[in-house]
């Protein structure tokens, strides 16, 4: 049976797509799933760097598309896991160096040998976006609780709806204290505005910067607070019902009793 093909997208840049792809991929692989991460950000290769695999790249996705190498030759195995590999983006090519059909075919081929293919989408809603969603059967939309990120996410949600691709939402960089004081949109607000089902909430935390600096997935850092956050999201992706702890407070009641939650 062929694996799930999930695009991780946002519209706006810098909201955490690559961070999410890397850490969710690692979390799923740690649970024993076979995972292939595809960097669709042609020209702005990053996923390899976030995972600390940048020195091992030989081929890239465009070379696979052009038939200059086999998919398996281009896949870089992350030796810290049983079965996690990445297919790097081309760094020195244009976004139009690859077509939607080529991209979809590669994703499909990857899905034949994996339980999950996670596609790290570039920012925007142009060609790069269309390539990244071409082979996807599900989507995770990442947004931060800010007006511009949410507006862009809404555009992407519309485009995915048009393609009938089911969507779940990750709210990234949440700052519970700011939500509590009424200075940041709550997760409930964001879900209501976008009318999308919630998959996960990731707080804004320096741990991300620290682990990214070192090229280390959070789930391998036993002391990291965010480790359980990504593990919970991975479990939800696998179909488990994992309750959201009371994180963001909402409305009058929430503001009065302001319970803190994470998940």
């Amino acid at each position: 049976m062929s694996g799930r093909r999930i695009v991780i997208t946002s519209g706006k840049g810098g909201v955490g797509k690559t961070t999410t792809t890397a850490n969710l991929g690692a979390a799923l692989a740690k649970r024993g799933a076979r995972v292939i991460l595809v960097d669709a950000d042609i020209g702005l290769r990053n996923l390899d760097l976030v995972l600390g695999l940048e020195k091992r790249i030989v081929f890239d996705v465009v070379e696979v598309a052009e038939g200059r190498c086999q998919l398996r030759q281009a896949l870089i195995k992350d030796k810290r896991f049983e079965s996690l590999s990445i297919l790097p983006a081309a760094q020195t090519r244009d976004k139009d160096a690859i077509t939607e059909q080529q991209f979809a075919a590669i994703v499909e081929q990857a899905a034949e040998q994996a339980d999950y293919v996670l596609i790290d989408c570039p920012a925007g809603i142009e060609a790069g976006f269309r390539n990244a969603i071409a082979g996807a059967s599900e989507a995770i939309v990442v947004t931060t609780p800010e007006v511009s990120a949410i507006r862009d996410a809404d555009r992407v949600v519309g485009k995915l709806n048009d393609k009938k691709i089911p969507i779940r939402l990750i709210v990234n960089r949440l700052r519970p204290a700011m939500v509590k004081s009424g200075d940041m949109l709550s997760v409930d607000d964001v879900c209501e505005i976008l009318s999308v089902e919630l998959l996960g909430i990731v707080p804004d935390d320096e741990e991300i910067i620290d682990t990214t600096n070192r090229g280390e997935p959070i789930v391998l850092d036993e002391s990291a607070k965010l480790r359980t956050i990504y593990e919970k999201i991975a479990r939800r992706m696998e179909g488990e019902v994992v309750p959201f702890t009371n994180f963001d407070s909402q409305g009058l009641f929430g503001r009065l009793f302001g319970a803190l939650k994470a998940g």
Binding site: E146, V147, I150, R151, D154, R155, G158, N161, D162, V179, S181, G182, D183, M184, L185, S186, D189, I193, S195, L252, R255, L256
Partner: protein, 141 residues
């Protein structure tokens, strides 16, 4: 205690302002992205109003304006002719209100009589882009 009382009663928090602004801008975005919705709405609107008065279909205009806390729809629907009220009993007349003849020269100022329908939209609860059937030509039947 005082702090949150102030917050409850005091001015809007920036997050509620953000929510309000987003709600409006997304409604505007969605309308701009779905011209067929506006066309269909225009047609249906004119169909309903034509049951009572004769309107100039060609000159119907629909606009959306952002007001303080809502999106308002402004429809300008020029009326060409109004039927003479029949009978004083106030009984509802069922027959289609198509005027028997073209309006006499006396009522030759159609487009100046443009009452505006001003409908503030309610925040949609679970709206989503349920694909509208592709817009049909705006013909009256």
């Amino acid at each position: 205690m005082i702090e949150w009382l102030k917050r409850m009663l005091g001015p809007q928090t920036s997050s509620s302002t953000a929510k309000e602004r987003l709600r409006l801008v997304l409604m505007t975005d969605h309308l701009a992205l779905a011209p067929e919705i506006i066309e269909n709405m225009k047609r249906d609107l004119v169909d309903v109003i034509s049951r009572y008065v004769e309107v100039d279909r060609e000159k119907v205009e629909i606009d959306f304006e952002r007001e303080d806390r809502a999106l308002a729809m402004m429809a300008s629907i020029p009326i060409i002719a109004v039927n003479r009220p029949t009978g004083g009993g106030g009984s509802h007349d069922e027959k289609p209100a198509k005027p028997e003849a073209a309006p006499p020269a006396a009522s030759a100022t159609p487009s100046t009589a443009s009452p505006s329908v001003n409908a503030a939209t309610e925040p949609p609860k679970r709206r989503r882009r349920k694909k509208q059937p592709s817009s049909k030509p705006a013909t009256a039947h």
